[in-house]
Amino acid sequence: MSEMGYTTDEIMSVVAARHLHDGQVCFVGIGLPSEAANLARLSHAPNVILIYESGTIGTSPEVLPLSIGDGELASHADLVVSVPEIFSYWLQAGRVDVGFLSAAQIDRFANLNSTVIGDYHDPDVRLPGAGGAPEIASAAGEVIVMLRHTKRAFVEEVDFITSVGFGVKGAGREGHRGSGPSVVITDLGILRPDPSTFELELVAIHPGISVDEVVENTGWELQIADELEVTGAPTSEELSILRGLKERTARAHAG
């Protein structure tokens, strides 16, 4: 807990939740994206439609799922479909407005790595792998990315492109149906791709965070927007909804 009265994870979730709008169809990854998407649903976006890759559509869990296939998601869903169906009829067909993703690494052009750190055939760290991410990143109307801002995570070039942002050296998105990452939300600030070069640019910092701090934690020479904004601090209402959700979740997962 900082002297601001909230944690860095909390402001990241609150800011990410604000980027989700009421009525949007959102394909949700597990972890931080799931927390942010459910915060949006419980606050300003009650009609957001949450889809998880386990096949649960229009789900409104009372507690956050630990895994992507928790019973909590199935019993609170409008419908449950098979995994081949969720990826073909729903995602590939273009029914998803927003994909909500995290990753272990992101690069200058918003490409994401969740496969390996180091060489693929002799990895330093073997990560879980692609899961649904490559096709979410390709087919969703836009992608919101959330990850903690460190030099290890924000790298010049990712070790492995699991999911395409704007391609190698910002080559673009030819062949992809969706428009790609629209915003990257971290615990320090907000980045957006430059519309012409596709390079990520710092557009906002969170209260109490300095530009230097963001630059120091970024593994490339970070472009800073001319009109840098300061994020609005989490409101007491946002924090109370988020903390309530996390408390209910902790109680439920303790078994």
Binding site: G69, S82, F87, P134, I161, G255
Partner: protein, 289 residues
């Protein structure tokens, strides 16, 4: 027609060494009891297939039963890494493990093609990723629109093993909730083993997304109550999240893993003994949770 048998006999008869085996389930209905039986019978050189290899494959791989894994996301859901899988990939311990990885959409298309009797599945996927140059995927052009698409080869396992909620007296299988790719992977396979929570006179429709596999698509059915623990069977059991969390510490250490497997899998008579140990609170005794 499905034959009612013990799980021990089903695994002994239908899963020879060297088989290509899919034990499927998308975090729900994971066939843990069957996986334990495979380990107890010390099967070797298996090619394992699973979209989301989780703790059961961590156990099977850690015990040296597999030589290859085909998958799309390998982790302990919501907790972190699979340490036995990582040890096999990073350090060849206890033996080298060849891996072939895909995306979920690609694996789903592969299973659907296998179930359809087609040689490949087609999708918009993999484009621009490093998976493209690495794995079993090819570019094809749509003969009608000219669009570039991706083809992935069908999966047809030698044996599919799944867990379901119910079987009726004729061996028809009923399941509901999150059913993942189980229908596709069953229909794609040469042989199918199903463990169920309960034998019933008539399948009941008590949850969303009810799926039936008719008896004549299944080879062996065994009643194994709680056979998906620590996963869950909607309507029967709940997910043991504390176990998944505790597994992180057990599996992180080679020796602790070996002791745990010896005590709760290798030296027990069957899954009933494991469930009794669970009820006595013994499974996580070795770790602070």
């Amino acid at each position: 027609m499905a034959e009612f048998t013990t799980l021990r006999d089903a695994v002994a008869d239908l899963v020879p060494d060297g088989s290509v085996v899919a034990m499927e389930g998308f975090t729900h209905l994971i066939p843990f009891a069957a996986g334990h039986e495979v380990i107890r019978q010390a099967k070797r050189d298996l090619t394992l297939i699973r979209m989301t290899p989780d703790v059961i494959y961590d156990q099977v791989i850690g015990m040296g039963c597999a030589s290859k894994l085909i998958f799309s996301w390998g982790g302990n859901p919501g907790v972190g890494s699979l340490h036995r899988l990582r040890d096999a990939v990073e350090n060849d311990h206890p033996r080298a493990l060849e891996i072939e990885e895909h995306s979920h959409a690609g694996m789903a298309a592969r299973y659907a093609a296998g179930a359809s009797g087609l040689p490949f599945g087609v999708l918009r996927g993999y484009m621009g990723t490093d998976l493209e140059g690495l794995t079993n995927v090819a570019t094809i052009t749509c003969p009608f629109t000219g669009e570039d698409l991706r083809a992935v080869p069908a999966i047809n396992p030698d044996v599919t093993i799944i867990h379901a909620q119910q079987a009726d007296r004729r061996g028809n299988i009923g399941m509901w909730g999150i059913t993942g790719v189980q229908r596709e992977v069953a229909l794609a396979a040469e042989r199918v083993i199903v463990t169920v929570e309960e034998l019933v006179d008539e399948l009941s429709v008590t949850g969303p997304n009810h799926v039936v596999l008719p008896s004549w698509t299944v080879d062996a059915v065994s009643e194994v109550p709680q056979g998906s623990h620590p996963s869950y069977s909607m309507g029967y059991t709940t997910r043991d999240n504390a176990f998944y969390t505790g597994w992180d510490a057990i599996s992180r250490d080679r020796d602790m893993f070996a002791v745990w497997m010896q005590r709760f899998v290798m030296s027990v008579d069957g899954f009933d003994d494991y469930i009794r140990a669970r009820d006595a609170g013994a499974l996580l005794e070795m770790v602070d949770v």
